[in-house]
């Protein structure tokens, strides 16, 4: 009887810990998305938005982890300078690409679904976003090291990381780290 009570208590504690984690992650995401949406709403154009939103996004998105995962296996061959350069370029590319999707004066209507704990310190928050008359299913993947950070975004079933990994892995196989950095520079230049 005593051991049964202990098991029940342990389960209850584990559940409360999971709930606390998911709530933290949900609050974090809602705050970040609302902040970005307000900046987007107040910005006059997409290039102004990109520069205004960057200081916010570097605190909510783990660009280093994203870049590492987007490059994949080849990342182990990058030296310190190449890691820094690739991360900066990838962050710029992502911010510019998504800034161009926003229209000033349009505010997205976001419905948050319950968070799913997929592994310890890893969470997925499915959302439904209604923006400029169209509806999108977006899943935010978050991980916790010190704080929660967004590590991937899945739009209509297509993962940002998977999309870039296919392209950057091909670049790496052709010419190593310099080829990946070259491809990122080109992509950033196109979106200027």
């Amino acid at each position: 009887m005593r051991s049964f009570s202990l098991i029940l208590t342990a389960l209850a504690l584990a559940h409360s810990h999971l709930s606390a984690s998911t709530i933290d992650a949900e609050i974090f995401l809602k705050k970040a998305v609302t902040e970005v949406a307000h900046i987007a709403d107040a910005s006059e154009n997409s290039s102004a938005l990109a520069s205004k939103v960057r200081p916010v996004l570097v605190n909510v998105i783990s660009f280093e982890l994203m870049t590492r995962r987007a490059v994949g296996l080849g990342w182990k061959k990058f030296n310190e300078a190449q890691i820094k350069e690739a991360t900066d370029l990838f962050a710029t590319l992502i911010i510019r690409t998504y800034s161009s999707k926003f229209t000033p004066g349009e505010f997205p209507e976001i419905t948050y679904k319950p968070a799913i704990l997929v592994a310890p310190e890893r969470i997925e928050i499915p959302t439904r976003i209604l923006y400029r008359g169209s509806q999108y299913e977006v899943i935010y993947r978050q991980e916790k090291s010190v704080d929660w950070r967004i590590t991937d975004v899945v739009i209509e079933g297509v993962s940002l990381i998977a999309t870039y990994r296919t392209q950057l892995d091909a670049q790496f196989k052709q010419g190593g780290a310099p080829a990946v950095i070259g491809a990122l520079k080109k992509a950033v230049a196109i979106r200027q």
Partner: protein, 158 residues
Amino acid sequence: MKNTKLELSVGLFVVLGIAAIIYLTIQVGTGSMLSGDTYLIESRFANAGGLHSGSAVLLAGVTVGRVEGIRMEPSDYSAIVTLRVLSSLRLPTDSMASIKTTGLIGDKFVSLSPGADDTYLKSGSRITLTESAVDLESLIGKMAFGTVEKEKAQQDTK
């Protein structure tokens, strides 16, 4: 006496032949013909539509495993796909699993993409970085017919 022995041998040969055909049919059908040792890993997908037991698991276009089974996770209604992959394949923990299609309307398969972590997936580990099957019909539908909200917004502006 000699004829009986011959008939028995022929009969035994036929029975063994049929047994071999049945065995091969089952093995090919379930896709479990992988040479060498294997281990099991799991992948969590929001949608595993079109995938079935025996579907191929590819890495760089090479078959490295098979789908062992698919079950529903009742807590979040996701699909847990069990993959049987070759033991010689060491997959970093941040590897990705995507459900892809051979051609436009071909069979579904799981495509693995190795990550950059220094730790590796062990038997029974789960891949959480996944990309589900893209619902092509629904995407085409959205493109072709738009959405209710869009039409409503257009009506509001008139």
